[in-house]
């Protein structure tokens, strides 16, 4: 059998797993994707010819009726906090998988299922906030077609939301595997790459929250 084994896959040149290199390359690529989206939002900021506007009221004659600034900072601050907490849950899920069965990881801290569910639920909460935000904007007269702000805002945050959605589906898949056969230290990489993706999406939101919501 040794003869056979000698032909088997050699270890990788770096000692790292292929998938982890690929996910980091992917995240690098995503940087450019979101940079393009954020640039567009910032370029078009203040260039809309009709309201509603993000931070300013819109009055006649520019708008038919008085329109309040549309961004809802309290709700978004809450959803930002939720997403940050989901990142915490995610690292704890990874730690639980990596250290399954080790001392100090008994109980809740070692329950990868709990932390995966928490992450997913927090992610879904974030998406719920976004859905609430979008519908209330539409009620206030801002759709993706209304003006440059609407187009670039919905596209940017929508792209981010789509990434969160994909992340939630990924987490649910991991959860299904965990329920089916249990995730252990051997599967740490599976969780790790999902976690990297998840944190990256969080990090993008940190930038969006400041650049879109807080800065006038």
């Amino acid at each position: 059998m040794t003869a056979v084994a000698s032909h088997a896959h050699p270890p990788t040149s770096t000692g790292l797993d292929h998938r982890k290199i690929a996910i980091w390359a992917f995240i690098g690529s995503e940087c450019m994707l979101f940079a393009s989206l954020i640039s567009t939002y910032l370029i078009y900021k203040g260039r809309s010819v009709v309201g509603p506007f993000p931070h300013e009221a819109c009055n006649p004659p520019v708008c038919a009726t008085h329109l309040n600034p549309i961004l809802n900072i309290p709700v978004t601050s809450f959803s930002t906090f939720v997403l940050l907490m989901s990142s915490l849950a995610m690292v704890l899920a990874l730690a639980a998988v990596e250290n399954k069965g080790k001392p100090g990881y008994e109980g809740l801290l070692g329950s990868s299922k709990f932390w995966l569910i928490s992450t997913a639920v927090l992610g879904i909460t974030f998406l719920g906030c976004q859905a609430y935000e979008f519908t209330s904007f539409v009620h206030e007269g801002l759709t993706i077609r209304t003006n440059l702000f609407g187009s670039s805002f919905f596209t940017l945050t929508g792209f981010h939301g789509a990434h969160v959605t994909a992340g939630v589906l990924w987490l649910i898949t991991l959860l299904a595997i965990d329920i089916k056969r249990g995730l252990g230290p051997k599967d740490a990489l599976l969780v790790d790459i999902a976690a990297l993706y998840w944190h990256f999406v969080d990090v993008v939101w940190i930038a969006i929250f400041t650049l879109v919501y807080l800065i006038k």
Partner: protein
């Protein structure tokens, strides 16, 4: 496990390897995928070339009547799009696929099924985009697709829809392949193959993958905006809503300029393989060649606006982008000189591959010099959007990229098929190409400076442009003839070419140490690499004693010729003598050489699978469903998207959960 005589010995010409349509549809072998890329890209080259010839027929004389304005606009749009996305990039991908694992001493790429997926996406995407011809609505907005011309009010037909959806599909292919190759090159190098020992082609390929990964997201977003504008009524490019048409231009060229290097660097890499081999000298200044490639790529992200000097960005931006653009000339110039000095002092053998490589060096220089002329905005304002710039970028992309790629095909065809391309026919191909290219594109410098705008389907008589256009058209016909000869050469040599043997050119790198065509597992034993020129080390250890970057403690010090230890590398050169290529038996028939199968050797090979093809197909159909929106069938379009997305996800899930290869032990 390794029981003998389970299957016949490996030989491509006999029944050893699986054959038949199904084996190609399900293949995950990087070499077969590379071959698929190669022939598909060559087929599209025929299409793109035909488009060019029709255009040159139209422009042969003033007031031409061969095609209408509308058809001409579709032709130049599709000619550009085809040549860039369906020919040069996939031809490069063919070499990436075929060569990267062989050059770094790997058995396959990091994600073999993803690799198959990339190819199928490319195939379906290219078919989708060209299907527009069948409905008479080929894209007509130029390959650059400037908004607002491409927005709904100015382009209400399906033409632009085909284009933007097609590019999105092709982008998926390029991105997937890029992640794959990045991982492969970082992670699958054979022992001893450190970064500064990688062959130049692999280096340039490595750089190109990063360009792809960073450039394609930007065009993706620009196209998403266009899609949203056209399908959902957003305002990214809507003039009446205050949109800025320059947004598209900036996003497009942030992608578009790195794209130029995506097109040229693989050819540079191939030339850096060919020149040393046929000079019998190592590449001059290897580290500088590597760094200049990286520098070109890096600077390539800081020059995009030189495509936009005419839009009025203001003197500061013009000056900055002018300077960064001029800077790029330096690493490019370094490459040219290093190539020349690679040949200097060598024993030059003028094979067809070598001739193509040399003509890249000679002619790319012209494109480089006219490039610097364009880098000066005041001069550029007279030159841009005339035939002068058409001349410039065809010297870069035809006399540069394509010459390099043709050279690469002559050089690597024996490795791919086991047979040499005919040098006799190849000489006709080369000289007709060389004359044709120069006759086509050199006069365009003059027609441009004498005031002829580009992208015109007709021009007036008496402007002094007639003779130049006639020459350009004649040159184009010569190039077409050259293309036909090339096709014949490939067709004939595949079955009647000389048997190549492992190493017909006495080349230095790993891919030449294994049989031609290589067995599915590539290397019986993963080689241990001890220098940049492993095969030359074995053949001429006395000459390579001073190779830099062969660090202390390297096994290369143990390498010696004739019977003694020459490294793990030497042991497995199954079909050859220790020297690799000069095997007298090999020139007779490689098919007689008995190679062990992967199974016999106990090498786990990935299972063939059809799933990537299905995922690619359903993804393409998902995008294609969006076309129905403009037929006022939104519900049907959405139904199509949902159906195909579901199918795609289902097959993707099946793919991801199926094991890649047998679990041995």
């Amino acid at each position: 496990m390794a029981t003998a005589a389970v299957s016949p010995s490996y030989a491509r010409t006999s029944s050893g390897s699986p054959s038949g349509i199904w084996s190609w549809l399900t293949t995950v072998d990087h070499k077969r995928i590379g071959t698929l890329y190669l022939y598909t890209a060559l087929a599209w080259f025929a299409v793109g070339g035909t488009e060019a010839v029709i255009m040159r027929m139209q422009l042969q004389g003033p007031n031409g009547r061969v095609v209408s304005a509308e058809v001409f606009n579709q032709l130049f749009t599709m000619h550009g799009t085809t040549m860039i996305f369906l020919v040069v990039m996939p031809l490069s991908a063919a070499f990436f696929n075929f060569l990267i694992p062989l050059q770094i001493g790997a058995r396959d790429v990091a994600f073999p099924r993803l690799n198959a997926f990339s190819y199928w996406v490319y195939l379906f995407g290219s078919l989708f985009m060209n299907a527009s011809w069948l409905v008479g609505m080929a894209p007509n907005g130029g390959w650059f697709g400037y908004a607002p011309l491409t927005t709904l009010p100015y382009s209400p037909g399906l033409n632009i829809d085909f284009w933007m959806l097609g590019l999105q599909i092709l982008g998926v292919s390029s991105l997937a392949a890029a992640f794959n190759f990045i991982t492969t090159i970082i992670n699958m190098r054979a022992p001893g193959m450190n970064l500064m020992r990688m062959p130049m082609f692999t280096w340039m390929a490595f750089v190109v993958q990063f360009l792809l990964v960073l450039a394609f997201p930007v065009i993706t977003i620009a196209l998403v905006f266009l899609q949203f504008d056209r399908f959902f009524g957003t305002n990214f490019y809507t003039i009446t809503q205050g949109a800025d048409p320059l947004l598209w231009q900036h996003l497009f060229w942030i992608f578009g300029h790195p794209e130029v290097y995506i097109l040229i660097l693989p050819a540079f890499g191939l030339v850096s393989e060919i020149l040393p081999t046929f000079s019998r000298k190592p590449i001059f200044g290897y580290p500088v060649m590597v760094y200049s490639g990286i520098l070109i790529a890096f600077l390539g992200f800081g020059v995009w606006a030189h495509h936009m000097f005419a839009v009025g960005m203001g003197p500061i931006a013009d000056s900055v982008f002018s300077m960064t653009t001029m800077l790029i000339a330096i690493p490019t110039g370094v490459k040219i000189f290093n190539w020349i000095f690679t040949m200097w002092g060598g024993n030059l053998r003028f094979t067809v591959a070598m001739k193509f490589a040399i003509s890249l060096v000679a002619l790319f220089t012209i494109g480089g010099i006219s490039g610097v002329m364009h880098a000066s905005p005041p001069a550029d304002l007279q030159q841009t959007d005339t035939y002068f710039i058409v001349a410039h970028f065809h010297y870069v992309l035809v006399a540069g990229s394509l010459m390099g790629l043709w050279g690469g095909i002559y050089y690597y065809f024996p490795k791919i098929t086991g047979r040499l391309l005919s040098e006799k026919i190849g000489n006709w191909h080369f000289w007709l190409t060389f004359i044709g290219v120069n006759l086509t594109f050199m006069p365009m410098h003059w027609s441009g400076l004498y005031g002829m705008p580009r992208r015109v389907y007709t021009y007036d008589a008496g402007q002094g442009w007639e003779i130049f256009n006639l020459m350009s058209s004649t040159g184009a016909y010569l190039q077409a003839l050259a293309g036909i000869i090339f096709a014949y050469n490939i067709f004939r040599s595949r079955t009647h070419g000389e048997i190549a043997g492992n190493d017909p050119w006495e080349a230095p790198s790993l891919e030449w140490s294994i049989p031609s065509p290589p067995p599915d597992y590539n290397f019986e034993t993963i080689p241990t690499v001890t220098s940049r020129y492993p095969l030359w080390d074995i053949k001429h250890p006395e000459l390579t004693a001073s190779v830099p970057h062969s660090r202390h403690g390297d096994e290369r010090n143990d390498v010696s010729l004739g019977g003694k230890h020459v490294g793990a590398f030497h042991d497995h050169m199954a079909a050859g003598t220790p020297e690799g290529g000069l095997n007298p038996n090999a020139t007779q028939a490689s098919s007689k050489v008995s190679l062990k199968t992967a199974e016999e050797l106990g090498i786990p090979m990935p299972y063939p699978t059809i799933k990537p093809l299905w995922v690619a197909l359903f993804m393409t159909l998902m995008f294609a469903s969006l076309l129905l929106i403009h037929k006022d069938k939104l519900p049907l379009a959405m139904a199509g998207v949902v159906t195909f997305a579901t199918l795609m996800t289902g097959f993707l899930y099946a793919w991801l959960t199926a094991p890649l290869e047998p679990h041995h032990h």
